[in-house]
């Protein structure tokens, strides 16, 4: 078993359970994270019903890196068997993660990959995610097309990874990026920035943007009455899908899913591994990263079908994807 | 007095503040070993001229020579290096620092940037000892904040003296001092004069000027209008040089009014107050006498609800809650506070607002003001009190002390008060304005108001009061009525009580 020296708290023998799983999340001010946590809770409750999971310990707070280190220490002290963390930094938490794995605790990082080798990163490839919408946009505007990009926060690792990948796509496709603006991953700021860009770059054919800013950008484009001529990359979130759905049929966009359910997927993995299964090392990229496949993006092709399915959820609902306990078997060594 | 070559010569001094020409071609020449009076009405530029010499105001133009050497004085630090020290009208003490640290502030003794308390104490000790008669038992480590205003003023003077100046500027340094404290200051000034220093002395107290000064320069509207030898000039002439013809206010006692008691106080205690009883009738001007700091100011503040106090207060037979100045004001009580700068005026606000603020609610309709009515109300006070202003929209900070004080009066007159509390109302006010303020006080009483007045000047009490209550340690210990009120009797009464003689010095006992 990978779990060799199980903490005394979870008791009776090898691979038996019930287990305790800890979650560390260092940012609560977003709908995305809220959905991520509730996905994990939903997944956990079925294990709890089966008696396999004793407790799910949530360390969920707005905090900085130091605070998150504290969170992880708390989880270690609470005697958890596995930790699922959405880390605030790709490297600054390595040491405390190492402490955890040294004690035989399984650690999974979701949403943001970390460099600690003993941690298993689970998630989609952010570069691939960005490239998917960038490729779609490049195809729409064609060679020589002119676009602007509304980014998150310059210098932020997630933004650099995503925009870097998108930039490569645009270069290869001969698409010209006229300028970029920071929207701070904030819908209203994205809307304001797009308004400014529309006035001063009348020649643009398209906009590449990410996450919640897509809705703001689209609203600005609609407000300028140019939704027929400017192509906007979208977002797989209900708020955006609704506005998209309200547009005429020749309006096109794309929404690539960045599933908050990755945490729940990690939980299924954790439960399987705690019960004695081992991860299939050959599937790990860079030694410790498990790359989840992207879902089929939302496009005009499948918009109606997708929308009818998720319409009932709230506006902040993000299209999701959770691998089931059976699905995660593909990453595990099968005897 | 020896005559030497002029130690200080200022000429062609110009200074403009916004629209106000504070000094225009002012000049002053003073010799070493001379006490030189700098005289003039409020706002005539005395302080400004002093500040130019002390480096704290940069003139628009000026020629300054010290002992014949032309100098530029760019900052107080530069002035200090040239041996010029100043006591300003506004205290320049840091309340939270100790007396010792204040005394050496700006010229701290020490090595490599480290303070040496021992060196400082050594430097300060003789000064504290010298000042002890006026300062009392004040130690190096006492916080300045805990000292009485007069003591603070003495410390301020000590701070200037410590620099062993060859030019010392005393700008109304005696305004908040009592006679014994003034005596000590004069003694020290005379010693400095013997040592060859020049002392520039600014005061609105005529007796001080005639007693101390050798020569005097007189300013009016920023212009030097005269230079005169003080011993050779009569006081009346000095006044005339300063303010033109002022009709001196004669002492006039109204007949002791016999109406009903308007203000009745029983057992007022709290802070320095230890049970004050007092009765005052409408139309009566009651003075508060005694040594300084016996609770006179506290009594006025307490009656106005501005400090915590217990006891019974009735106005016209109705009890008053001592809750806040607001409740006091709503019962027709008004206070002209002792510190005009921090308590009386809203410096950056226009004169009109300063006049209006206490009575504003009464002129409003559902909280909305009529600009016409506001202007009219303010203008009525400017006219009634003959306040000299440029425009009602100018900030009150542009007014001279006397005029600012009249604005504070006007603010309360607009509320038509029935009880008027005055705390040192003519401090720093020139002779002319002082006379006008006495007339205002008298006419208030004539219109039926009760006036309670505290003053640092005994002559003021003699001039305006119908009755004086002598306070000691927070209680009324003696009363002087009518012709009993003379400067001698006031001093006697204060001192005899201070020495423990509890017997009534004269007149009736306090109620």
């Amino acid at each position: 078993s990978t779990v060799s020296n199980e903490p005394a708290a979870s008791g009776d023998g090898d691979a038996a359970g019930p287990f305790t799983i800890g979650v560390s999340n260092g940012f609560v001010g977003s709908e995305y994270r809220t959905q991520m946590i509730s996905d994990i809770e939903d997944a956990a409750s079925s294990y709890q019903d089966e008696g396999l999971l004793e407790d799910l310990v949530l360390e969920n707070a707005d905090t900085d890196v130091n605070g998150q280190i504290q969170q992880v220490r708390n989880l270690i002290n609470a005697g958890v068997d596995a930790i699922i963390a959405d880390p605030n930094s790709g490297s600054a938490l390595d040491q405390v993660f190492q402490e955890a794995t040294d004690q035989g605790i399984l650690v999974f990082a979701i949403d943001q990959a970390v460099t600690a080798e003993s941690v298993i990163n689970v998630g989609i490839d952010q570069a691939e995610w960005a490239a998917t919408s960038a490729e779609w946009l490049a195809e729409q505007v064609g060679d020589g097309g002119q676009i602007v990009a509304v980014n998150g926060i310059s210098g932020h690792p997630a933004n650099e990874a995503r925009y870097g990948a998108a930039q490569e796509v645009f270069e290869a496709a001969g698409v010209e990026v006229l300028t970029t603006a920071d929207g701070g991953w904030d819908q209203a700021t994205g809307q304001q920035q797009m308004g400014n860009l529309l006035a001063t770059y009348p020649e643009i054919d398209g906009v590449w943007t990410q996450d919640g800013m897509a809705l703001g950008v689209l609203q600005a484009v609609i407000a300028a009455g140019r939704e027929g001529e400017i192509v906007v990359t979208g977002e797989a979130r209900n708020g955006f899908l609704q506005l998209w759905n309200e547009q005429s049929d020749d309006f096109e966009s794309i929404g690539v899913t960045n599933p908050p359910g990755t945490g729940a997927t990690a939980l299924h993995l954790a439960m399987a591994m705690l019960q004695g299964q081992e991860i299939d090392e050959s599937q790990l990229v860079d030694g410790n990263t498990l790359v989840l496949e992207l879902e089929e993006p939302v496009t005009n092709e499948n918009l109606d079908a997708v929308w009818s399915e998720v319409e009932g959820e709230g506006e902040s609902y993000v299209l999701d994807s959770i691998l089931s306990a059976d699905d995660v078997q593909q990453f595990l060594v099968q005897d | 007095m020896t005559t030497t070559s002029p130690l200080v010569r200022l000429s062609g001094v110009h200074k403009r503040y916004g629209g106000v020409q504070a000094l225009r071609d002012a000049s002053l020449t003073a010799a070493g070993g001379e006490v030189h009076g700098l005289l003039g009405p409020n706002g005539s530029g005395k302080s400004t001229l002093g500040k130019v010499l002390a480096g704290s105001v940069r003139p628009d133009a000026a020629e300054i020579a010290l002992a014949g050497e032309p100098v530029r004085i760019g900052s107080p630090r530069a002035a200090a290096r040239l041996g010029i020290a100043a006591v300003y009208q506004q205290l320049s003490l840091v309340p939270d620092l100790s007396v010792g640290h204040n005394l050496v502030l700006g010229s701290e003794p020490g090595r490599l940037g480290f303070l040496s308390d021992r060196a400082a104490a050594r430097r300060v000790a003789p000064m504290l000892e010298r000042l002890a008669p006026a300062l009392g038992d004040v130690r190096f480590d006492d916080a300045v904040r805990d000292l009485a205003p007069g003591q603070q003023q003495i410390v301020e003077i000590g701070k200037a003296l410590l620099r062993q100046p060859r030019v010392l500027i005393l700008d109304e340094a005696t305004a908040s001092l009592h006679r014994d404290q003034v005596a000590l200051v004069f003694e020290i000034v005379r010693e400095l004069r013997e040592g060859g220093a020049t002392i520039l002395f600014v005061s609105h107290r005529l007796d001080e000027i005639t007693e101390l000064c050798d020569r005097a320069t007189i300013l009016r509207s920023g212009v030097t209008v005269a230079e005169t030898s003080v011993p050779d000039t009569t006081p009346d002439e000095i006044v005339r040089l300063m303010v033109g013809d002022v009709q001196a206010v004669e002492r006039e006692h109204g007949d002791v009014p016999d109406g009903p008691v308007r203000l009745r106080v029983r057992g007022l205690a709290g802070g320095a107050l230890r049970g004050v009883d007092l009765d005052a009738r409408g139309g009566e001007i009651v003075g508060l006498g005694g040594l300084q700091g016996q609770g006179q100011s506290e009594l006025l503040l307490a009656l106005f609800g501005a400090t915590h106090a217990t006891g019974e207060v009735e106005v016209d037979g109705e009890p008053v809650r001592l809750a806040s100045p607001r409740t006091a004001a709503s019962r027709g009580i008004a206070l002209v506070p002792g510190d005009r700068g921090t308590q009386g005026t809203l410096p950056a606000r226009p004169i009109q607002e300063n006049l209006a603020i206490a009575s504003i609610a009464g002129r409003s309709r559902v909280g909305v003001l009529s600009s016409r009515r506001e202007r009219a109300a303010a203008q009525s006070m400017v006219d009634a009190l003959a306040i000299k202003i440029g425009s009602l929209a100018d900030p009150i900070s542009s007014l001279s002390g006397g005029n600012a004080q009249k604005v504070v009066f006007g603010k309360w007159l607009l509320t038509e008060p029935s009880v008027v509390l005055l705390d040192d109302p003519t401090k720093g006010v020139d002779v002319g304005a002082k006379a006008e303020i006495y007339r205002i006080v008298r006419s208030l009483a004539d219109q039926g108001a009760t006036v309670i007045i505290n003053s640092s000047e005994d002559r003021e009490l003699v001039t305006v009061c119908d009755r004086v209550l002598v306070l000691f340690e927070g209680a009324v210990r003696a009363t002087l009525v009518g012709d009993e009120i003379t400067e001698e009797r006031l001093v006697q009464a204060a001192l005899r009580i201070g020495e423990g003689d509890q017997g009534a010095p004269a007149g009736e006992d306090a109620a």
Binding site: S154 | Q343, L346, I357, V368
Partner: protein, 318 residues
Amino acid sequence: MTRVVAILKDPVVVAALIAVLLIAIGGILRPGFASPDQIVDMLRVASFLGIIAIGQTIVVLSGGEGIDLSVGTVATLGAILASRTMAGDDALIVPGVLLALGVAALIGLANGLGIVLLRIPPFVMTLGMLGVVGGLILVVTGGRADGRAAPALVSLVNGRDVLGLPGILLVWIVLGVVVTLVLRRTVFGARLYAIGTSREAARLSGVPVRRVTVSAYVLSSLFAALGGIAMVGYSQQVFLNLADDLTLPSIAAVVIGGTLVAGGVGGYLGSAVGAIVLTVLTSLLTTLAMPEWARIVVQGVVLIALLAVYGRQRRLRS
């Protein structure tokens, strides 16, 4: 001549000139920036900040180290409460707005009482309140702010129904005029300036210092909530940190507008112009193609330069 010079020294005039200058520069560098549509758009965006800055102006004028660091979150909370209540339905606008204003008033009351009764410095009181309101937002939303602005609100902000201008601009102008009148022509205004200049002198003039102070903080929260509601009309959907970032800009707008940080001197017109300057500056920097770091640096430098101009004037005047 001197009158012209005097007018040119008025901080409000300086700020307004700077706004015009920025637009002109933008227009030269990027045709389209000075187009009427873009200007209307910038004014629209400035109005949210401008409305929030009304309350901030009042609080700063009230003196006593007055500042309200909670306006951003209160605006967000107001937007969330209003938009969840109206849920895209015009009929529910009024209850939504009233609910938001009611809750905001309570928050402002708590700020004011903490400051006058418990004597907590405003900086810390409103900073603590920022935390408390942040918590409240999570309670109210459960971490998901699903709310939709009613169509009438959206068209008030995004439409151009009033003489070709967005209705929100009219609302802003009306609020600005009313506030200026309140400051200049009411008992409350006179007392606000009085306590801002000298609490002690005001108290001794019979001004109810505490009541006026508390009112200032209540008004601050109310205008913050109004600003938040306007903002949700713009973004149409609410989200968890909609207006959080407007706190520092609201203070900057007040200072740029020439209101003295120490209190007692200034007015709203300046803050409104300040809000416009900040918005135009941000927009201009967005549209110029330059690296993000350069944008940040330029923004900082322009702000400092702007205030240096006033500093020089303060010196000339005193």
